[in-house]
Symmetry: C2
Subunit: 404 residues, 2 copies
């Protein structure tokens, strides 16, 4: 009997009617002859409400206690789902992260799973039950409740699938799958039947519906992940690492990200170690620097531009202005209305012509490229925020993704 | 260093401001040099809201899952209280029922505590922390979450005090203590400085602020319990079993209860076993019968009257009508507008005159007594509901309780 792990997000369990709907889906999977392990997020805005509650008590909630508090959101939804399943006559049991054997490190608020003791789950499965695991949480070696932070429930689902050697992990959400571009921006965007872990990682980094962390985990353990809608019956997108992926040799999708700000140090002395001088202090205060471009040196002076998340810009400028003098910079300029647009596809690196085709399409659409970066399977252009949706549409057309 | 266990009810932790207020009280107890273990109820109406949520998913929530769901209410309040304490610079840790080592039987929804493994609590206390235990919950031998049912948090508090050999258990609520009568009915009712377990048991059965179950536990383990207000600073009432109690020889208070209905079987054949014929079927459907009075037999026929909780009357009549024929009863009569008024005091049994003084006072107030029952420390009269408050005031005056 094959085992399937299913994950339902907060929207999918947002109220009593939706929880009953999820129960019917789980029951149907069970009827098809599978063993089923389900993990759920907290209902709708429950987590936000718990955060607000903590903030109303203290400006700086203790991280350990915050985890105890936040973990209750998933306990509620998993208990309710189990009730709904039993109402349908399906044997089920809800388990806390601890009962499910999910051990984590002690980094409260963003703990990482260290191992999963599957004993209790296996025993409940052997008893013929659907096992419902509260997502997003685990237990530390000191027997304290921990939470996994952003993308936590997706990570729980993939980790359970890996530990239980499930046939597949199914992630149900409020979208029908992974598209060649954001359908709100590109009306003729097409749902992908499949995508590689690596491509999904690049897309996820730009706002697609799964956290990169859970996809990395799926890639490491080779867990196939199906992303589909909990609200409509339609085939989703299968994320996997099949060999056929490597020869696809085609753009899989166009992604964009508007959470981008740009900082430029003008007239920096071009001497060894200058990059470290600037970027180490940023790293120390926890600011991630994304794209970095350094111009060719003129008279031993250069301009150095990098991007950060828009929400980090003010803090980044505070740090950079302090060190700009030491670096001999003439001026620090910044802009917070930038965006990134990317094409993603396995095999692009080995097939020339993608980059030039991308640049040509943007030029034809009248869009100026400020910076360019590439990875093995991605080419990203920094453009003005007000042009990024046009850019996305232009690239979707140029690479004929509507015929996917 | 002496250890004190404190319990705060749902009203006392009803919002962020009240939680901060409780934190200040706990901090103050800690500053006075005590070790402190705190147990809390769920915030305000949180438990009711969780019950409503379950009912919106299914008409008959599974009891095991209901316990998982309900247990989250106390997890939330205990985590918030710990945050508030840390905000005051007081080291603290919130523990789930499981982490606090509270083992129970597997009767979900009304589990009974079987033992408490104090290891984790002791270790946290040794580390100088205030230990906050989620009330109302424990863990079964099968490692499932259980809840203790009505009066659960009070029971948690007393059980913790017994297991940790605390100096005292302090129960903070929205009243200032135990009064000689309900102050809403008797304006010159007086707060008692102390009361015996037995007296408190009788008063609690009639609606005073602690569940009888927790008082029984306190009596068995000899835990002194202070009942006081969490909102005002005033001495409360100490419930204990000191030797001086036994010779008080005085009425401690007047209690009343309006949740009373009366059922009478007229013309029952007075033969052996007739009572069992009637009361066994009631017990089988879980209806508690309170006072029972059987009239002297005339012509081998008797009238049999008993009281039940008003909410049980309809069910009780359904059962009784079925068996009335077998018992040869002429008629079944009932009344749901009855009430009980009681005087409670240690040593009454050994000092004559209390009963006659009670009956005289009620007669002088023009109140008809329908039935009478007594225990070692209590005399109860069944009266019409619309006269019970007058009866309470008359008895309070007659036994000069305003001069307590």
């Amino acid at each position: 009997m094959s085992l399937i792990v299913q994950k339902y997000g907060g929207t999918s369990v947002g109220d009593a009617e939706r929880i009953r709907n999820v129960a019917r889906r789980v029951a149907s999977t069970k009827e098809q002859g599978h063993e089923v392990v389900v993990t759920v997020s907290a209902m709708g805005k429950a987590t936000d409400e718990l955060v607000d509650l903590a903030r109303s008590v203290t400006a700086q909630p203790d991280p350990r206690e915050m985890d105890v508090l936040l973990s209750t959101g998933e306990l509620v939804s998993s208990a309710l789902l189990s009730m709904a399943l039993r109402d349908l006559g399906v044997l089920s049991v809800s388990l806390t992260g601890q009962q499910a054997g999910i051990r984590t490190d002690a980094t409260h608020g963003k703990a990482r799973i260290s191992q999963i003791d599957t004993g209790r789950m296996q025993q409940e499965l052997d008893d013929g039950k659907v096992v419902i695991v509260a997502g997003f949480q685990g237990i530390t070696d000191e027997m304290n409740v921990s939470t996994l932070g952003r993308g936590g429930s997706d990570t729980t689902a993939v980790a359970l699938a890996a530990a239980l050697e499930a046939e597949r992990c199914e992630v149900y959400t409020d979208v029908e799958g992974i598209y060649t571009a954001d359908p709100r921006v590109v009306p003729d965007a097409v749902k992908l039947a499949e995508i590689s872990y690596e491509e999904m990682l690049e897309l996820a980094s730009y706002g697609a519906k799964m956290h990169p962390r859970s996809i990395e985990l799926a890639a490491v353990y080779g867990v196939p992940v199906l992303v589909a809608s909990s609200l409509v019956d339609a085939p989703g997108t299968l994320i996997h690492g099949g060999a056929e992926m490597e020869v696809r040799n085609k753009v899989a999708g166009v992604a964009y990200d508007t959470n981008v700000a740009k900082v430029t140090l003008l007239g920096v002395a071009d001497r060894p170690g200058i990059a470290a001088t600037i970027f180490e202090p940023l790293a120390e205060v926890g600011i991630s620097v994304d794209t970095i471009v350094q111009n060719a040196s003129v008279d031993r002076l250069t301009d150095l531009t990098f991007t950060v998340a828009r929400s980090d810009l003010t803090r980044a400028l505070g740090v950079v202005r302090d060190i700009a003098k030491d670096a001999g910079a003439r001026e620090v300029a910044s802009s917070d209305n930038m965006a990134k647009v990317s094409i993603v596809g396995t095999g692009m690196q080995n097939a020339p012509g993608y980059a030039s085709r991308m640049f040509r399409a943007l030029f034809d659409a009248g869009i100026n490229i400020e910076m360019i970066t590439t990875s093995e399977i991605r080419i990203t252009c920094l453009v003005s925020e007000d042009q990024v949706k046009d850019a996305t549409r232009a690239l979707h057309r140029a690479f004929e993704l509507e015929t996917e």
